[in-house]
């Protein structure tokens, strides 16, 4: 039995993991370039580790508008504060950690929006963004419910505030939709 033939390409598992993390808009060429430069699994892994984070950050920079994110954060904050007042839970806003309670779900929602922008096509962003941010808020509110200092006074209030916030955020995203083909992932 002769020696095993040299591997003709990168390990499938590493390529699959890299492909999972690389945003779809640039996945094709980045994976192709990495494969073309393949010498051995170690070199390939090192190159993936050095390249993929920069590609993700660059994609996030391209697809996220700081001004719009700020408006979205404000819209979410506003919807939580307004819902708290409308549902009779306004007292918790002036309590200790009142605004920290609001900040954490808002930050999670913004993170979800940034990731959706980086990983999905432009036409799907308003819908996917709303779903992801809504989910992120509920998950964060659930996590906070186990902490007495950070828990929201009512889950119903969180639900209404999230829905109101999502409506505002979706409106903002439709209003400030990007127009560049490459940045939209087309």
């Amino acid at each position: 039995m002769g020696p095993a033939p040299p591997a003709s390409g990168p390990p499938k598992i590493i390529e699959a993991v890299a492909g999972f993390f690389i945003p779809p808009a640039c996945r094709e060429e980045v994976l192709g370039d990495l494969r073309e430069r393949f010498e051995n699994p170690r070199q390939y892994s090192r190159e993936v580790l050095c390249t993929v984070p920069l590609v993700i950050l660059s994609r996030i920079r391209r697809t996220s508008a700081p001004g719009v994110l700020l408006l979205e954060a404000f819209a979410l904050y506003l919807s939580f504060a307004a819902t708290a007042i409308a549902t009779g839970f306004s007292r918790f806003l002036v309590e200790e950690n009142g605004y920290v309670r609001l900040t954490l779900p808002v930050l999670m929602a913004l993170l979800a929006l940034v990731l959706v922008d980086a990983y999905s096509r432009a036409e799907r962003r308003p819908l996917f963004g709303a779903i992801a941010a809504f989910g992120a808020i509920l998950i964060q509110a659930k996590r906070q419910s186990t902490n007495l200092e950070l828990a929201f006074p009512s889950f119903r209030m969180v639900l209404i505030a999230s829905l109101a916030g999502m409506l505002l955020v979706t409106g903002l995203r439709l209003l400030f939709a990007p127009d560049n083909n490459r940045t939209t992932g087309a």
């Binding site: 060429e29 192709g32 370039d33």
Partner: protein, 126 residues
């Protein structure tokens, strides 16, 4: 979209590489050419991708996807080309570099003539 004619040093290297590679300017070849231009510094592939995005946002380059090729596991190449704005920006950078070179040559005189591309920086005469 932000448009600007001013480009940084690394952006100049990427633009020069695209200019030199003509129709064959894609990630791997551009990275190799940039490494050659930046010698002895090493350049990561990720830094080149980040610069592509920035230059594309500035409207200095444009790109298109090719057909998939078997040697890349059936994946496409993204070819880049200079746009008119990119050519102008590169031209301005080259002119600035020439003016810098001439000013330095005037100050350091013939010492600069011995200053090869791989030699250490000459000591400025007192």
């Amino acid at each position: 979209m932000h448009k600007s004619d001013s480009v940084g040093q690394f952006e100049q290297l990427v633009l020069t590489a695209i200019l030199q590679l003509h129709e064959n300017a894609y990630g791997v070849t551009i990275h190799a050419k940039v490494e050659e231009l930046a010698h002895p510094k090493s350049v990561s592939l990720g830094a080149v991708y980040v610069t592509f995005d920035r230059l594309e946002d500035k409207g200095l380059i444009s790109s298109r996807l090719s057909d998939p090729t078997p040697e890349r596991g059936g994946r496409s190449k993204r070819f880049y080309r200079l746009e008119a704005l990119g050519e102008r920006a590169l031209q301005e950078s080259a002119l600035t570099a020439r003016r810098v070179w001439e000013a330095v040559a005037e100050t350091w005189g013939k010492e600069l003539g011995e200053w090869g591309p791989r030699r250490p920086h000459p000591v400025r005469p007192k």
